[in-house]
Amino acid sequence: MVAALGLTGCAKEAGQESGGAKPEKVDGVSADLMADADVTVDTSKYKKDGPYTIAALTQGPFNGWGLTWDETVKYEASQNPDVGELLLLPSMGDADGQITSMENLVTQKPDAIMLNPQGRAALSASVSRAMAAGIPVIVCGNNVEGKKYVTYNDVDLYAVGYQAAAKLAERLGGKGNVILMHGIAGVDAAEAWKQAAEDAFAKYPDITIVGSEYANWSVATGKEKATALMAANPQIDGIWSGGSEMATGAMLAFDEAGKPQPAYGVDNPTNGFLRLAQEYGVEFDAFPDPPGTVAKACLETTLKVLKGEPVKKYEAIPAEGFNETNLDEHYVPELSDDFVGPLVLPMEAYIAAGLKRK
């Protein structure tokens, strides 16, 4: 812990471009990202004639989020005449494997790499190395330390976590007991969201964080931990969940204990969360980390880069929050619980990918 504190201390060295600086957060947004949103990158040196060979390094279809991402990229690439060949390299969640894939791509020399990094730290040097080899790297869906890429396309993950927490705090009238539930300790999204939620709740002095647990983005573990936290704290007014799986588990726990459902603030709501939220009629605020939207935008940016059109260093993708009142606009009953909205492709494309509700 001392070491971690020391880090944040020395993180704010003068804004040299060579990385090492932690993303700075101001009032629910990442200040440095917002600054990058104003920086225009000249891409003329990447300009080429199509059709292009584009490599897409993805998380891999081991869950609904990854599947939705992959299917979006595949579909959009197949519809776009500028894309000659799509090299889809799923890392199946393995950061080290993804570094390997990056190295292999430097040998294979595609026209551009769109990277959904499996580790903000892990992929840092790989991005530099690919860029040094003359391959433009477009980072999407998770940032990479050092900013050596051409452009970063994403929702502001910090803002997603922050707003979910802030909305929850407001719904509770700025006071009450909340518990926080996180994904896997040490994984970027989990830690970014955790930090954001803690920052947000700190703004509300009458809100007490009575529990903060990691539950590995697992519904079952979420239910276990929620039950244990319920035991430790008789009064829970709100649950903030960095990823909706733990919130789903918590809903089941409260339902089973016969206790009234608290209010929820969640990041990245899955179709399954929405289904149960509807069934239990819970109050919630959800902020998406939408794989389809990000993937689609990312492919478009990649093509822009290859055509030499200017792009922003950070291409912000808006993440509109929603709540129980407009749940129907986001819940897709035709598709399985693992689907993560919103719908970007025609319904048939999802069904062909196996996302149909069984």
């Binding site: 889809l88 393995d94 892990a122 790989s126 330390e145």
Partner: protein
């Protein structure tokens, strides 16, 4: 002399001592698999067959390769080390954080990191030999403890490491990265120690039968403990190398290295019961595993099937030959 009689009987019964192929079947098979896989992949994807890719495969195999060296020592000595992945993580993150927070020269930090690895190994070794606790569980417990320690060090990306580390990874002589050359040297040294020093031969003896080794005046505890120390140092080295690979300390560093190193050793013909197997085979197995994932990228194997295919390769690797079990 009548002695020749007994000898004659033995000879007719057992045939000539040249059962080299039988003893080294696993090793030969692994390299055969490597060659076949390489040839098939190269014929499908010309880019795969380029020499720079071969160097790349070697570089990609360094982390697993170095960890596997330590694992081989431990396995040959009759133990198992489940804590290597987390040792790599703790050391990698520790080095990264220390580099960011202090001005100690990189070399010194690296030496310090290796020392921490050695200390973790020593602790494993002492618990196992002096107290007589089951190696699998002791090192599994150590895995748990170290994963906690790693999170206590940092739960997010660390600072970018100094250029020294990038040089460590990127420097090359022509197409051959220096890291690969060092890696090959380390393997040669590991082979040398195992086969050409008293200590190495004692490792085999201790793993073959601790009782026999003890009665032959070999210090069993010390020999065994040292295998864990070697394993700890190797894991630490791998952690530092992985750090130089990513450039920023990653809290997920070293994930799963314990399983992949054990599997690699087993495919390479190292007996999980100790005392038998060649480190040459383990090296081949490391190449096999690394090459498989390299091939996935060049042949664009669907994500759904990667795990299945890798599992199948490993399955073929260990099951075509019958490993002799413990007597």
């Amino acid at each position: 002399m009548t002695l020749t009689l007994a000898e004659r009987v033995a000879r007719t019964r057992l045939g000539p001592p040249s059962s080299w192929l039988r003893r080294n079947g696993a090793v030969v098979f692994v390299y055969l698999l490597v060659v076949v896989l390489y040839a098939v992949a190269a014929s499908i994807s010309p880019a795969f067959g380029r020499p720079e890719n071969l160097a790349e495969i070697l570089r990609q195999s360094i982390a697993l390769g170095v960890v596997t060296i330590g694992q081989v020592y431990v396995l040959l000595g009759g133990g198992i080390d489940m804590s290597v992945g987390m040792t790599a993580r703790v050391v990698g993150l520790g080095v990264a954080v220390t580099m960011g927070a202090t001005t100690i020269p990189p070399i010194l930090v690296i030496v310090l990191g290796l020392a921490v690895g050695a200390a973790i190994g020593l602790l494993n070794g002492v618990l196992i030999t002096r107290i007589g606790a089951t190696p699998f569980i002791v090192t599994l417990g150590m895995l748990g403890v170290l994963s906690g320690v790693a999170l206590a060090i940092t739960d997010g990306p660390t600072d970018v490491v100094p250029d020294f580390f990038f040089t460590m990874y990127d420097a090359a002589i022509g197409p051959v990265p220096i890291a690969v050359l060092v890696f090959l040297l380390i393997w040669a040294a590991a082979w040398f120690v195992l086969n050409r020093t008293t200590y190495g031969r004692n490792v085999y003896a201790v793993g073959g039968s601790a009782d026999v080794a003890r009665l032959s005046a070999i210090n069993v505890h010390r020999t065994r403990t040292l295998t864990y120390v070697i394993s700890g140092v190797c894991a630490a080295a791998a952690g530092i190398f992985l750090l130089s690979r990513s450039g920023v300390g990653d809290p997920g560093l070293g994930q799963g290295l314990e399983f992949s190193s054990i599997v690699a050793a087993a495919i390479g013909g190292i007996s999980l019961y100790g005392g038998r197997g060649s480190i040459v085979g383990a090296f081949g197995a490391v190449l096999l595993v690394t090459m498989s994932s390299n091939i996935f990228d060049f042949l664009h194997v669907n994500g759904y099937f990667q795990q299945l295919v890798l599992g199948a390769i490993v399955l073929v690797g260990v099951s075509v030959y019958r490993t002799r079990g413990r007597q």
